[in-house]
C-alpha cells in the first residue's frame, strides 16, 4: 500500500514535468478562455458598423410608413430606403464602391410583389435569401395592408395569433435535462479516457524502452506498478479536468452574458444524486480504459509501437462515446438502455440517462456492477500480461501469445 502511493507520487511528478503535458494543458485552457470570449470577440470586431448595409429600393412606395417597424425588429442589418428607381447597373456600382453590401428591390407586378435580392455573391448565404429578411418584409407588407384596411387596434389584436404554447409528452420516459450539460459530461469523460488514460500505456512502454523495468520489478510488485501508474495519471487527469472546469466557470462568469449563460447551462437539473453518479462513472470509466491501455502498453516495448497497440482501445472508446451520443437523441429506445449497461459505453451514457430520468434504479445498479466487474477483470488481465511481458523487449507480441507463454513459465 505504501509502495502504491510511492509509485503514484512518482508517476504524478513525472507526468506534470512532461513538456507535452504542460503544453497540451496550456492549449486547452487557452481554447476554453477564447471559446467563452467568442461573443465578445465578435462584438469587438463587428460593433454596430459591422451590420450588413442593405439598400431597399421601393420606388412604388409599397411599404409606405410601415418601414419604421423595421427598426423595432432588431435585425442584424442597417436599412436604407430609396424611392428612386435604380437600375441594375447603378446598384452594382454602389455594391462595387462598398456604399452598400446588398440591395433589395421591390416592384408590384399586377398585384404580386416581386423581391429582387441583389448581392455580390450569394455563396455566403448558400444561394438563398436570408429567411429573416423575407419574414421582415412580409410582416412589413402585411402591416401596410392592415393600415390600408383601416382596422382598429382591437380588431387587429383579435385577428393576430396569440397562442399559449405548451408541450405535453406522451412518452413517460421522455428526456428531461439540459443537452449542453449532458454533452459536456460525456465529452469531458471522453477526453479523460482518450488523452489521460492513453498516457498509462506510454508510461509503461517508456519503462521498458529505458530498460528500468527489471530494477523496478525487483523493487516492488508488478500489480503495484500498474495500479500506481493508473492512479497517478488518473489523479493528474482529474486535476486537469477540475482546472479546466474552474477556468471555464471563471471565463463564463466574467466573459459571458449571464442571461445567455443561464439558458445554455441550466443547472436546475443537477442534483446531488447526479453529481455522485457522474463521479462514480468518471472513476470507473477512467479506471476501465486506463487499465485496458496498461494492457496494450505491456505488449510493446518501443514508443513507436504504442499508437498501433492503443488503436483498438481508442476505437472501442469512440464506439462507446458515439453509442451514448446517438442514444441520447432517442432516450426511450432500447439502444439507450443497452448503452447504459454495456461497460464500453455505460460511463458515457449512464450519467446522461440519470440526468434525463430515464434510468431505473435497478438499471443503475446493474450497470455499475457490470462496469466494476469488467474493470476488475481488465485489471487482473493487465497485471498478468504486464508481469509476463516484462522481459519482452523485442517487437510487439499478441496478448494471447503472452498469456500462453505465461502459462508455460
Amino acid at each position: 500500500m505504501k509502495n502504491l502511493w510511492t509509485v503514484t507520487k512518482f508517476t504524478m511528478k513525472d507526468m506534470i514535468k512532461r513538456k507535452s503535458f504542460i503544453i497540451s494543458t496550456i492549449i486547452l485552457l487557452v481554447i476554453i478562455v477564447v471559446g467563452f470570449n467568442i461573443p465578445n470577440i465578435i462584438n469587438n470586431f463587428a460593433g454596430e458598423e459591422f451590420n450588413e448595409k442593405i439598400l431597399v429600393v421601393d420606388s412604388e412606395n409599397i411599404f409606405g410608413n410601415s418601414k419604421e417597424i423595421l427598426n423595432q425588429m432588431e435585425l442584424e442589418y442597417s436599412f436604407e430606403f430609396t424611392s428612386e428607381d435604380l437600375t441594375q447597373e447603378q446598384i452594382k456600382e454602389k455594391i462595387d464602391n462598398k456604399d452598400i453590401d446588398t440591395c433589395l428591390k421591390f416592384t408590384n407586378e399586377n398585384g404580386i410583389i416581386k423581391m429582387e435580392y441583389i448581392v455580390e455573391s450569394s455563396s455566403m448565404t448558400f444561394g438563398e435569401v436570408p429567411q429573416s429578411l423575407i419574414m421582415a418584409f412580409q410582416t412589413l407588407y402585411s402591416n401596410e395592408q392592415i393600415i390600408k384596411l383601416d382596422i382598429s387596434p382591437e380588431e387587429l389584436a383579435a385577428i393576430s395569433p396569440q397562442f399559449n404554447i405548451e408541450i405535453i409528452e406522451t412518452d413517460e420516459n421522455a428526456a428531461k435535462g439540459n443537452v449542453v450539460i449532458m454533452m459536456l459530461i460525456s465529452a469531458v469523460l471522453f477526453y479523460a479516457v482518450v488523452f489521460c488514460a492513453g498516457q498509462v500505456s506510454t508510461a509503461i512502454t517508456t519503462e521498458k524502452t529505458s530498460k528500468i523495468i527489471e530494477t523496478l520489478v525487483t523493487s516492488t510488485k508488478p500489480a503495484t506498478i500498474v495500479l500506481g501508474k493508473t492512479l497517478g495519471i488518473g489523479i493528474i487527469g482529474l486535476l486537469q479536468v477540475i482546472l479546466m472546469i474552474v477556468v471555464a466557470g471563471l471565463s463564463a462568469h466574467f466573459c459571458m452574458d449571464q442571461e445567455i449563460l443561464e439558458t445554455i447551462f441550466d443547472l436546475s437539473n443537477i442534483t446531488i444524486k447526479l453529481v455522485f453518479v457522474a463521479i462514480i462513472y468518471f472513476i470507473l470509466g477512467y479506471a476501465l480504459y486506463s487499465l485496458a491501455y496498461a494492457l496494450t502498453g505491456s505488449t510493446v516495448s518501443k514508443p513507436e509501437d504504442v499508437q498501433s497497440a492503443n488503436g483498438p482501445i481508442s476505437f472501442i472508446a469512440v464506439i462507446g462515446f458515439y453509442l451514448s451520443y446517438f442514444s441520447m437523441t432517442n432516450p426511450s429506445s432500447n439502444l439507450n438502455k443497452i448503452s447504459g449497461i454495456v461497460p464500453i459505453s455505460s460511463p458515457f451514457s449512464m450519467p446522461l440517462r440519470v440526468m434525463m430520468g430515464t434510468a431505473t434504479t435497478s438499471e443503475l445498479i446493474t450497470s455499475i456492477a457490470v462496469l466494476t466487474i469488467t474493470t476488475i477483470l481488465v485489471a487482473i488481465i493487465s497485471i498478468k500480461i504486464y508481469s509476463s511481458a516484462i522481459l519482452n523487449t523485442g517487437s510487439k507480441k499478441s496478448i494471447i501469445k503472452i498469456l500462453k507463454e505465461s502459462k508455460k513459465k
Partner: protein, 319 residues
C-alpha cells in the same frame, strides 16, 4: 542476580548474531524456454559472506539463473532458498544490478534514487543519507540534481549500482558490473565491492572478466550452455591443477637448457622466459641444470593455470 541476567542477555544476543548466518541455496534448478533447456540442474550454495562468481560464455545461462534467483522469471523445476525460505521480495532484502542497464532519462538522479529507496522501505531521511553517502563514495555527487540522460554511460551505470545497494541489502546480485566501465571507474567499483564484502554482504557476481573474478570471488560456478562444468572454491580449483609453466629471469645458460630439454617457450622478453613444462619434476631438472651451470637466477617460479586458462580449457572457447 541482575548482573547475571545482564550477562545472560549479552550471551543470548551474541548467540542470536551468530545464529543469523545466512545462506542461499540452489537445488537442481532448471529452466526451459519452449523446447530449449537453457539452465540444467544448477546447484550452488552461498554459506558465508563474500563474492560468488558465476562465469560462462554468452548464452551460458548466467542471467537466466540470476533472474530465477530473484523471481523475475519462474524456474521450471528445482528449489531456490534463502535461509530455507523461497526468495521473494518479502523474504529477502536484496539488491540487483541488471545486465540491461536502465535509468529514467528525464528524471533527476536524486529523485530516481529516492524513488527506489522509498520502494525498498527507506524513509526520506534514511534515503537521503544513504544516497549522499553512495554518490560521494562513487564520485558522482556533482550529478545529484542533473537529469540522468545528461550523464555519461559509465556514470549512469554507477547510479544504477547505487540503486542496487542504497537500501543496505543482505544479498546483492551484480550482473556484469564491470562491463562498459573505464579503468578508473572499474577501480572505484572494485573498492566498493570490497567494502561490501567487509560489511559481510552476500554477493553473486556474473562476469566475463576473469581477472576481476579472481580478485574477488571465493567460490565460483562455470556454466557452459546451461550445464555446470566447474564448481567450488576458487583456490581449491586452482590447486587441483598442477603447475604447467615456469617463469624465469636468468642471466645466462637458459638457451642451451631449452635446446637440450626440448622445452616450449611460451613467452620471452629479453632474459625473462615463460616455459611450458610437462610436470613439476621437469621444473626441478631445469633448476638443477641452471645451478650446475652457475647461471644467475633472478626469478624462478612454477605457475599454475590461471582462471582464464581453466575457463578456456573447460568451456573450450576464447572469451
Amino acid at each position: 542476580m541482575i548482573k547475571l541476567l545482564f550477562y545472560a542477555i549479552i550471551v543470548l544476543s551474541m548467540y542470536k548474531v551468530k545464529g543469523d548466518i545466512m545462506s542461499l541455496e540452489l537445488k537442481d534448478v532448471c529452466k526451459t524456454f519452449g523446447e530449449k533447456e537453457v539452465v540444467h540442474k544448477i546447484n550452488l550454495k552461498l554459506e558465508k559472506p563474500g563474492v560468488y562468481g558465476l562465469l560462462g560464455t554468452n548464452g551460458a545461462g548466467k542471467t537466466t539463473t540470476i533472474r530465477m534467483i530473484l523471481g523475475i522469471i519462474k524456474k521450471t523445476s528445482g528449489e531456490i532458498n534463502w535461509n530455507g525460505k523461497e526468495v521473494t521480495r518479502e523474504n529477502v532484502n536484496f539488491g540487483y544490478l541488471p545486465e540491461e542497464r536502465g535509468i529514467y532519462p528525464k528524471t533527476k538522479i536524486y529523485e530516481q534514487l529516492l524513488y527506489f529507496a522509498n520502494l525498498k522501505g527507506l524513509n526520506k531521511r534514511e534515503a537521503t543519507k544513504s544516497i549522499d553517502y553512495w554518490l560521494k563514495r562513487l564520485e558522482v555527487e556533482e550529478y545529484k540534481n542533473m537529469q540522468a540522460e545528461k550523464l555519461s554511460k559509465g556514470n549512469q551505470q554507477k547510479i544504477q549500482f547505487i540503486t542496487a545497494i542504497l537500501h543496505d541489502p543482505e544479498l546483492i546480485v551484480l550482473d556484469e558490473p564491470f562491463s562498459g566501465l573505464d579503468p578508473i571507474n572499474t577501480e572505484i567499483l572494485k573498492s566498493v565491492i570490497k567494502e561490501l564484502v567487509e560489511k559481510d554482504k552476500y554477493i553473486i557476481m556474473s562476469s566475463h572478466q576473469m581477472a576481476s573474478v579472481e580478485e574477488f570471488c571465493t567460490d565460483i560456478t562455470i556454466l557452459d550452455r546451461g550445464n555446470t562444468v566447474v564448481q567450488g572454491n576458487l583456490a581449491k580449483i586452482k590447486n587441483s591443477y598442477k603447475s604447467d609453466k615456469i617463469e624465469l629471469d636468468v642471466e645466462n645458460g637458459i638457451e642451451e637448457i631449452i635446446k637440450k630439454m626440448n622445452l616450449k617457450v611460451l613467452q620471452q622478453k629479453e632474459e625473462e622466459y615463460l616455459l611450458k613444462i610437462d610436470d613439476e619434476n621437469q621444473a626441478q631438472e631445469i633448476l638443477k641444470e641452471l645451478i650446475n651451470r652457475n647461471s644467475k637466477i633472478r626469478k624462478f617460479e612454477m605457475k599454475k593455470p590461471s582462471l582464464n586458462e581453466i575457463f578456456i580449457e573447460k568451456v573450450g572457447e576464447v572469451q
